[in-house]
């Protein structure tokens, strides 16, 4: 199935907390330059999956390959060095640090430091609001600005792929549109994306392909423009639960 042409390929991944497995065997892949969505009810393992891929928690079984190489046994910072960047959900970052400092710090790995200037200019151009607030502390940011900073921090890490965990959580429709534009722009630069979202409209507007995750497994794969449309997905998740 997954070949080395993929940016990311995950096979048979199991992971969890304490005694129980949250993920009971995940298979998925993200092609080079592809944008892939991950959709499913809350508490069914989407965030756990990202945590397992970035080794915030250790996978219990299965294999993760990034750009053709296994990530087996690598510490989280080694994975960041490889360029696989995980932008965590509702990330408060560093409350007492300034925006500018935070962005500069995020270029922490040797490679990222080498391209710090270019990346910083790019982030500032992408999110002019962060440029205005360079000297403000992270804790003073609004929800939308914080999301921008989180993504900006991810970009400063010099990503070869980005995993975004619910970037639009709690944002207004207007801000969501702004973020969608920025994310599309990032992806247009050739950076593959794995996008975890609860907002199906938002997800469908961005991705080419989407996995449905349910009870720690991938239950379905949907291609954009294929027969399954928006309403079907809504029914599958929300309609089905009502009739249960």
């Amino acid at each position: 199935m997954s070949t080395d042409a993929n940016a990311l390929s995950v096979t048979g991944l199991r992971a969890g907390y304490d005694a129980s497995d949250v993920l009971t065997g995940i298979d998925l892949h993200v092609g080079a330059k592809e944008r892939v969505g991950l959709f499913g009810p809350n508490g069914h393992g989407k965030t756990t999956l990202l945590n397992a891929i970035s080794h915030v928690i250790w996978p219990r079984a299965g294999e993760i390959r990034f750009l053709g190489e296994t990530l087996q046994g690598l510490s989280p910072q080694k994975i960041v060095e490889r360029g696989l960047i995980h932008v965590a959900q509702a990330n408060w970052l560093f409350p007492d640090m300034e925006i500018g400092e935070t962005l500069e710090l995020a270029a922490y790995t040797r490679h990222a430091r080498g391209v710090l200037k270019d990346n910083l200019a790019y982030v500032m151009q992408l999110f002019p609001r962060l440029a205005e607030r360079r000297r403000q502390q992270c804790k003073t940011l609004s929800g939308g600005e914080r999301q921008m900073l989180s993504i900006g921090v991810g970009l400063m890490c010099a990503p070869r792929m980005l995993m975004l965990d619910e970037p639009t959580l709690g944002l207004s429709p207007k801000l969501k549109d702004e973020l969608a534009e920025a994310i599309a722009e990032i992806s247009a630069r050739g950076i593959p994306l794995l996008l975890v979202e609860q907002d199906i409209v938002f997800t469908l507007s961005l991705v080419e392909r989407m996995y449905l995750v349910d009870h720690g497994e991938v239950t379905r794969e949907i291609h954009r423009g294929s027969e399954v449309d928006h309403q079907d997905i809504m029914d599958m998740y929300f309609g089905a639960e009502k009739t249960r």
Partner: protein, 293 residues
């Protein structure tokens, strides 16, 4: 109350405050970054002073104070690393890391103090002052060494501040203290920075010891009193921030100098403790602090 009295109180308060600020900032640095409280901080101070004494004093190797400082810094970096590895690191995943490390660092304190007593004996020692003689400031006479402390302490603290603010490692240390999970996701090696922080704090302790060792007599338990003062300061200042701690240190120095003048040294500790209890009843997070675990 005359102007001379006020000047005397402020001058001696600032001398005390400078020392307290140096001691408390090392404790605070480790607390904000690692979330543990190092009770051996005072003993590390003592160790630094004794090492400097051995290297510099005529009764020791007589190599001069620069050699003393260099050796003390080098040894304390090593001790800091070993300490972090042996009595702190094994408990990072433990739910009660705070309580357990209070005990392990307390044990380390005993180990270092008794070790010092074994190596250097119980006899009092004193480091030769870097600046001998007396000086008069605002019509108050203090020793030149005390003036040196008043000047060096802010310089060291300023250097620490610049390091934490402007260098990659320094910013990394702050990031780890504020959100270690997020720090890990940008590629920071959290456990390496824990070691760096611990070693840095040990060096600060040692330098404080060297400064203090020339105005007070060295005994193996020389660090106990400063440690206790630093404890009270971090409670007053709140545990959240380095700047709060430093401010609290100077305030505490002046309050202590004023109390000593008005009620005498006998009742000063009691009054400070009563103040502490009142502050904690009214503001459990400290005067300047924010809520911590």
């Amino acid at each position: 109350m005359t102007a001379d009295t006020i000047s005397a109180i402020i001058v001696s308060g600032v001398v005390l405050g400078s020392l307290y600020a140096l001691m408390a900032s090392g404790l605070s640095l480790v607390w904000t970054t690692l979330g543990i409280f190092n009770f051996a901080h005072g003993a590390l101070m003592t160790l630094g002073a004794y090492l400097a004494w051995t290297m510099s004093d005529a009764a020791g190797l007589g190599l001069g104070l620069a050699a003393g400082i260099a050796v003390a810094v080098a040894v304390l970096i090593g001790v800091g690393i070993v300490m972090e590895r042996s009595v702190v690191r094994p408990f990072y995943d433990h739910r009660d890391i705070l309580l357990i490390t209070v005990m392990t660092t307390l044990a380390t304190m005993t180990l270092i103090e008794k070790g010092i007593q074994l190596v250097w004996g119980a006899r009092l020692k004193q480091l030769a002052p870097i600046a001998p003689g007396k000086v008069e400031i605002f019509r108050t006479t203090i020793s030149a060494q005390e003036l040196l402390i008043v000047i060096v302490a802010p310089l060291l603290l300023g250097a620490l501040w610049l390091f934490l603010r402007n260098t990659r490692i320094g910013r990394g240390i702050r990031a780890v203290g504020q959100n270690s999970a997020a720090a890990r996701l940008i590629g920071i090696d959290v456990s390496r920075l824990f070691i760096v922080t611990f070693a840095l704090s040990a060096v600060l302790a040692g330098l404080t010891g060297i400064l203090l060792g020339s105005v007070r007599l060295l005994t193996p338990s020389f660090g106990t009193d400063p440690l206790v003062k630093a404890l009270i300061i971090v409670i007053f200042g709140g545990l959240g921030s380095l700047s709060g701690t430093i401010l609290a240190a100077y305030v505490m120095g002046i309050v202590e100098a004023a109390l000593t003048y008005f009620v005498g040294i006998y009742w000063t500790p009691s009054i400070i403790f009563v103040l502490l209890i009142v502050v904690l009843l009214l503001r459990p997070q400290g005067l300047l602090g924010k809520v911590v675990r």
